[in-house]
Each structure stands twice: as structure tokens, then as C-alpha cells.
């Protein structure tokens, strides 16, 4: 180790490989429906796309997770985004490409991608 800068660079690199290891009650949660119906309709690549894009853009306060059957199997893959101040947004018939767009437009710019939703309800 030759300098503090070198250590800090190493620290930032190491952080990327850590994943989330603390409770984040206020985080925005992106939840992918991963019941049998969801997986059959292709939820796995959607989940992977969200995880990768969120990591790539280094978004903080966003947790990507999965859940069971949301109950609208004909619209799978279904993705819900839970935000503390806006409540829940439900996106349907998801694909990895749509996921990337949602990360940029919804999570980063705060604009709901209306054409992909099933409709929104206030909190």
C-alpha cells in the first residue's frame, strides 16, 4: 500500500462486490414476482436485468428482491416497485429491455413508465 488514495480506490472496488448487508427500511423496493407462473413467463432474466442495471448505475437506496405469486398470472412477469412516498407501482408483461428502461426512467428520473403499468394506486 503506497498511499491513502490507493487504499480508497481499493475500498470502492471492494464495496461493489459486497452487496447490501444492512437493513434499509426506507429503501425503494423493486420486487419481481417469482412464483411458478412468473418463472415460466420469464421472470428470471427480468430479475437479473434489474440487478445488473441497478448495480451498473450504482443506485443507492434501491433493493431488488423477489416475491411469490402476485395473483395476476396472465400478466406475468409482474414487477412491483414500492416507494416510501409514492406507494406501489405495478408493471406487467415485463422483459429485460423494459426493466432497463424502468431503471432509468422510473428509478433514476422518478417518472413512472405509464405504458408498462397495470395502473397505479396512491398510498
Amino acid at each position: 500500500m503506497k498511499s491513502l488514495e490507493e487504499l480508497k480506490a481499493l475500498r470502492d472496488k471492494a464495496r461493489e462486490n459486497m452487496g447490501i448487508r444492512e437493513d434499509q427500511p426506507d429503501a425503494t423496493r423493486v420486487v419481481v414476482g417469482m412464483a411458478t407462473c412468473g418463472i415460466a413467463a420469464g421472470a428470471r432474466p427480468v430479475l437479473t436485468a434489474f440487478v445488473q442495471e441497478v448495480a451498473k448505475e450504482k443506485l443507492e437506496g434501491v433493493i431488488v428482491g423477489q416475491t411469490g405469486c402476485i395473483g395476476i398470472c396472465q400478466y406475468e412477469p409482474v414487477v412491483e416497485i414500492h416507494e416510501k412516498d409514492r406507494g406501489k407501482t405495478t408493471y406487467i408483461n415485463m422483459t429485460p429491455e423494459k426493466a432497463v428502461k424502468i431503471v432509468h426512467q422510473h428509478l433514476m428520473s422518478g417518472e413512472i413508465v405509464n405504458e408498462y403499468t397495470i395502473g397505479t394506486i396512491g398510498k
Partner: protein, 595 residues
């Protein structure tokens, strides 16, 4: 890309409850489900709730699974990690409220805790230096070497009010200052990891969960006092801790964080491990240093103190593991940060190993000034079986007991001294109404008799005589004059012993005499043990109206002391009974009692 992390506790507690098999099962099932590139499995250090091991936390949800068995793993992998459905039956029940899983920080066990020394335990992989670095590891060392003068470092530690966590509570900054004031030349930094109190495992858990924090702090101390060599004295009974320290030292050297010209400065520092054979006296500083030198571990008179004349006759700073674990955070966050926590004269936090008759046995870290009641009732979850709190032994064989009347005492160095106990290294053994305080004092004294190194007479012979007097009392052969003799002898040993082992050995006797004199009197005058714990002063009998004559006790009695016909009340032959208590455990009707 990692979307989920499984943190599996791999401390000694969880290892002995089988975490390695759980680890293999997780690895295998992750592979089977094709999740190994998305889910990261990390072996971490102690979470603290050792009673519930093996323990694992799954992030990002922060789900806390307790008492996990290898057969549970397929369900956790397919349900939780694949389908996102939390396996509620395995979730730690305190985090389950009305079907909702809540945060671990909200549970009684964690709510009042403040983790500084343990902050990385249960969070990082202790065998990977990158994980320590990701959590600001070695930044404090870098800051010290590139931005601070040695005197500044000592000033920060002094101002923080940090006191030694190993027992006596000597101000750490002051100690460093003494060593730094010695003329330049060969100096040493040593770490006392010879944790010897029965039931104490704070230092072990820190070394197992976060070994780099100790290395970093020792290097900081080296810079502050002008030393370039360090030794960690650790007992060989801690194989996991030794193994992880070895890995940590190797990785630190590889990354240039130990060795020559650290951070491109002139500062060189390296650390070696010395294994102790497990003698309690080697936790005493002069005995420890003598043992590192290769001699028999015996104490020597002080002064000169080690800061002036320590290892190989050179100025030496010797601190305990937990003390070191506080140092890097103090450097990064400032003296005020630490001194804002705790009481007037005791700053920061203290780790306790909670054991004995308590619901949540394990490792807890609380701000100084937390009361015994908060630790026992809130964090510890109270006494199992609806029994009453009787006393807590704090500070191990060198400490004293705190009776239920003083349960609201604040835990800090000075308040504990006032009530005749001491902080010690942090062993905290909780006792319920079934514990006999005379027997407890005898237990701890037996330990010190055994561990006395024999160099000085008051300790070698005095503790032995004191033990014999206690034995007389527990056998019902003691007299009131014996109790006075015990007290006099205790003070004599305290005043005349060479080192802290002898000086503190009579503490359990003195403190139980102080708070439980009535129990001693009962043993001596009435020849009765109120808790029915002393075998010579109690007998086991069958209550005839409760006994239905099921013959179970008769079958389990190892010495055939129980007689009786089927469906008729049985009787124990007192001349044969060895008072093992097996019949009490087996009786389904509560018909057999101690009296």
C-alpha cells in the same frame, strides 16, 4: 452480479452447533438452483445470539434465520432465494410480529445494543481483507501515518477517554503516552488475547469476526509510541481465531499494510503470533510478557511497568483485544464521538459474554452506564422457566456478584467498584434462585487455586486455605468463627499477593459474604443449604401423595436406591442415594423434590 447475500455465522459457537454442514448444504443447493453467481454466501463472525446457532441472515431483506439445520436449506433456497417467500417457520421469532417480519435491530436483544468493537462481526468475511477494506478498514492507519504526528494520535486516544477493556480500566492514551515518552530505541506493541475467565469469549469473537481491526490498531499504537514490532499473545485453545489471525496477517503483509514503508512512509511494522498454553495467570501483563520471552509464565513485581520496561526489557504497550477494536473508529470519527457515549468516567461501550441462567445467552455490546436490569431483562430476555433473578457474577473469578437488590446498578468501571464487583474482561454469569452463592464462591475459588502460578505464598497457600474453609461450610461443618477467618484471610491475600490474580482471587468470597451473609449463616448455623445445591446439606425425597408408583424413577436410579411396588408410592433409601438428580428429571408428576 450479486443480488442477495447470505451471511452465515462461523464463530466458535455456531461452528460447534454445526454451521459447517449448513454451509456445505447452502453451497450445494445454490449450485443446484443455478444461483451461485447471484447469491453470495459469506462466512462471518459472531452475531451475538449464540444460543440460537447456527444463525444466518439473508440480505437485502435482512431476514434472520435461527437454529438452521442442513435439511432446512433446500426450502430456504427454493422458497426465499428463488421465489422470494420468507420461510417464516425458521425466522427468529422475535422478528416475527403478526406474520410480518421486522428488522433485527427492533428485537429486544439488539435494540439497546451499540456495536463498536463488534461492528464488523457478523457483517464481513473475516478471511477476506477486501471486505474489511470495504468497511473503511485501514483508512485510520493511513490517516495516522500520512496526516498525524505520533503525539496527535496519543492526544486523540487520551481525549476519547478510552479505558482498558481487559479488567482494570487503565486509561489507554495515558499508557501509550508513558511508552512514547521513553527514549527512542526498540519498543514493542503487544496484544493480550489470553482470555481466561470461565464463560468469557468477547476477545475470541472479535478475533474470529474481525481480525484486521486488531492488526490495524496495533500498527497505529506502534506509530504512536515508536515501535516496529508487535506480538499477539493468544491461547492455543482458540484454533479458529488463531487460523483467521494467521490469514489476516498474511493478507495484510501482501497488501503492504504490514511490513516495510507502510503507505509510502518511513514507518515499518510487523506482527507475530505467540500461542499461550492456557494458563490463567498469563493474562496478567507481566506474566504474559515473560511467557512471550520464552520463560515460564510468572508475574513480576511492578513498577517498573511494561510501558517503561516490558518485553525483553524494552518499553512495551500491552492492550487487550477489545481495547484495540475501538481504536480505528476513534481515529476516524474523533475523540468526541467516543466520549459522547457512556458515563462521566467510563466512555464508549463494553462487550459482555452473557451466560448462565438467561434466555439469550451470547455476546452483547452496550453503552457504558446501561443497567444490569436492562442487560438481564431486556437484552438477555430474562430468566428461563419463570425463575427469579438472584445475582450476576461479573468479572469472572476476579470479580464479584451483583445481587437482585442492586440490579439497577449502572455498568461502568466506578459503579461496579463501589458495589464490590469489577468490570473485568466482561464475563457475565446470571444466576437464578437455584444457585447457592457459597457454592458459586467455591467454584470460582477452585479455579484460582488451580490457576495460581505458585510464585508468591499469599496466593499459593492462601487461596488453598480459603478454599478449604469454603468446603467446610458447604459440607455443613463450618462455624461462625470460620466465616470471620475467611474474611480476614481474604483481605490478607488481597493485600499481600504479587499480582492481580491473587489480589482479586478472594473477591467472589468477599462479595458473596457481603450480600449473601444469610446463606452462609444458614449453612453454618442451621446446617442447611437454602438453594438445595450443596449435596451434603440436602436430600432427595419422594412426596407420597404425588407419587403414583409408575416405577420410572426406580428404573433410572443408577445406584438402585429407590424401592416400591407398582402403583404404590416409592421411597428413596437415603443411605444409598448419591443425589445425582436423575429421578427428579424423569418424574412426570413432580413428586420428587430436593429438601
Amino acid at each position: 452480479m450479486i443480488r442477495s447475500s447470505i451471511l452465515l455465522c462461523a464463530g466458535t459457537g455456531c461452528c460447534s452447533s454445526g454451521c459447517d454442514k449448513v454451509h456445505d448444504a447452502i453451497e450445494e443447493n445454490l449450485k443446484k438452483a443455478g444461483l451461485e453467481s447471484e447469491v453470495k454466501l459469506v462466512k462471518t463472525g459472531c452475531f451475538g445470539l449464540c444460543a440460537l446457532g447456527p444463525i444466518m441472515i439473508v440480505y437485502p431483506e435482512g431476514t434472520f434465520y435461527a437454529s438452521v439445520k442442513p435439511e432446512d436449506i433446500p426450502e430456504i433456497i427454493t422458497e426465499h432465494l428463488l421465489k422470494g417467500r420468507i420461510v417464516t417457520r425458521l425466522v427468529y421469532d422475535e422478528t416475527l410480529q403478526g406474520g410480518e417480519v421486522s428488522s433485527l435491530d427492533e428485537t429486544g436483544f439488539y435494540k439497546k445494543q451499540k456495536r463498536i468493537a463488534l461492528r464488523n462481526c457478523g457483517v464481513i468475511n473475516p478471511e477476506d481483507i477486501n471486505e474489511y477494506i470495504a468497511y473503511d478498514g485501514y483508512v485510520a492507519l493511513g490517516k495516522v501515518l500520512t496526516e498525524m504526528k505520533p503525539d496527535d494520535v496519543i492526544k486523540v486516544i487520551k481525549d476519547s477517554g478510552l479505558r482498558g477493556r481487559g479488567g482494570a480500566g487503565f486509561p489507554t492514551g495515558l499508557k501509550w503516552g508513558f511508552a512514547a515518552a521513553q527514549p527512542p530505541g526498540q519498543k514493542y506493541v503487544c496484544c493480550n488475547a489470553d482470555e481466561g475467565d470461565p464463560g468469557a469469549f468477547m476477545d475470541r469473537s472479535i478475533l474470529e469476526g474481525d481480525p484486521h481491526v486488531v492488526l490495524e490498531a496495533m500498527a497505529i499504537a506502534g506509530y504512536a509510541i515508536g515501535a516496529n514490532e508487535g506480538y499477539i499473545y493468544i491461547r492455543a485453545e482458540y484454533p479458529i481465531a488463531v487460523h483467521r489471525l494467521e490469514i489476516a496477517i498474511k493478507e495484510a503483509r501482501k497488501n503492504g499494510l504490514l511490513g516495510k514503508n507502510i503507505f509510502g512512509t518511513d514507518f515499518c511494522f510487523d506482527i507475530d503470533i505467540r500461542l499461550g498454553a492456557g494458563a490463567f495467570v498469563c493474562g496478567e501483563e507481566t506474566a504474559l510478557l515473560t511467557s512471550i520471552e520464552g520463560h515460564r509464565g510468572e508475574p513480576r513485581p511492578r513498577p517498573p511497568f511494561p510501558a517503561v520496561k516490558g518485553l525483553f526489557g524494552c518499553p512495551t504497550v500491552l492492550n487487550n483485544v477489545e481495547t484495540y477494536a475501538n481504536i480505528p473508529r476513534i481515529i476516524l470519527l474523533g475523540a468526541d464521538w467516543l466520549s459522547s457515549m457512556g458515563t462521566e468516567k467510563s466512555k464508549g461501550t463494553k462487550v459482555f459474554a452473557l451466560a448462565g441462567m438467561i434466555h439469550n445467552s451470547g455476546l452483547v455490546e452496550v453503552p457504558m452506564g446501561t443497567t444490569m436490569r436492562e442487560i438481564v431483562e431486556e437484552i438477555g430476555g430474562g430468566i428461563p422457566g419463570g425463575k427469579r433473578f438472584k445475582a450476576a457474577q461479573i468479572g469472572g473469578p476476579s470479580g464479584g456478584c451483583i445481587p437482585s437488590s442492586l440490579i439497577d446498578v449502572k455498568i461502568d468501571y466506578d459503579s461496579l467498584m463501589e458495589v464490590g464487583a469489577m468490570m473485568g474482561s466482561g464475563g457475565l454469569i446470571v444466576m437464578d434462585e437455584d444457585s447457592c452463592m457459597v457454592d458459586i464462591a467455591k467454584y470460582f475459588l477452585e479455579f484460582t487455586v488451580d490457576e495460581s502460578c505458585g510464585k508468591c505464598t499469599p496466593c499459593r497457600i492462601g487461596t488453598k486455605r480459603l478454599y478449604e474453609l469454603l468446603e467446610k461450610v458447604t459440607k455443613g461443618q463450618g462455624t461462625l468463627a470460620d466465616l470471620d477467618k475467611m474474611e480476614r484471610l481474604s483481605y490478607y491475600i488481597k493485600e499481600n499477593s504479587l499480582c492481580a490474580l491473587g489480589q482479586s482471587a478472594p473477591n467472589p468470597v468477599l462479595s458473596t459474604l457481603r450480600y449473601f451473609r444469610d446463606e452462609y449463616d444458614a449453612h453454618v448455623v442451621e446446617k442447611r443449604c437454602p438453594s438445595h445445591a450443596c449435596k451434603d446439606l440436602m436430600s432427595i425425597v419422594i412426596t407420597p401423595d404425588k407419587c403414583i408408583g409408575c416405577t420410572l424413577c426406580k428404573k433410572v436410579c443408577p445406584v438402585d436406591a429407590i424401592a416400591g411396588d407398582v402403583k404404590k408410592p416409592h421411597v428413596i433409601d437415603q443411605s444409598l442415594c448419591i443425589k445425582c438428580g436423575v429421578c427428579i428429571e424423569k418424574c412426570k408428576f413432580g413428586a420428587i423434590v430436593k429438601q
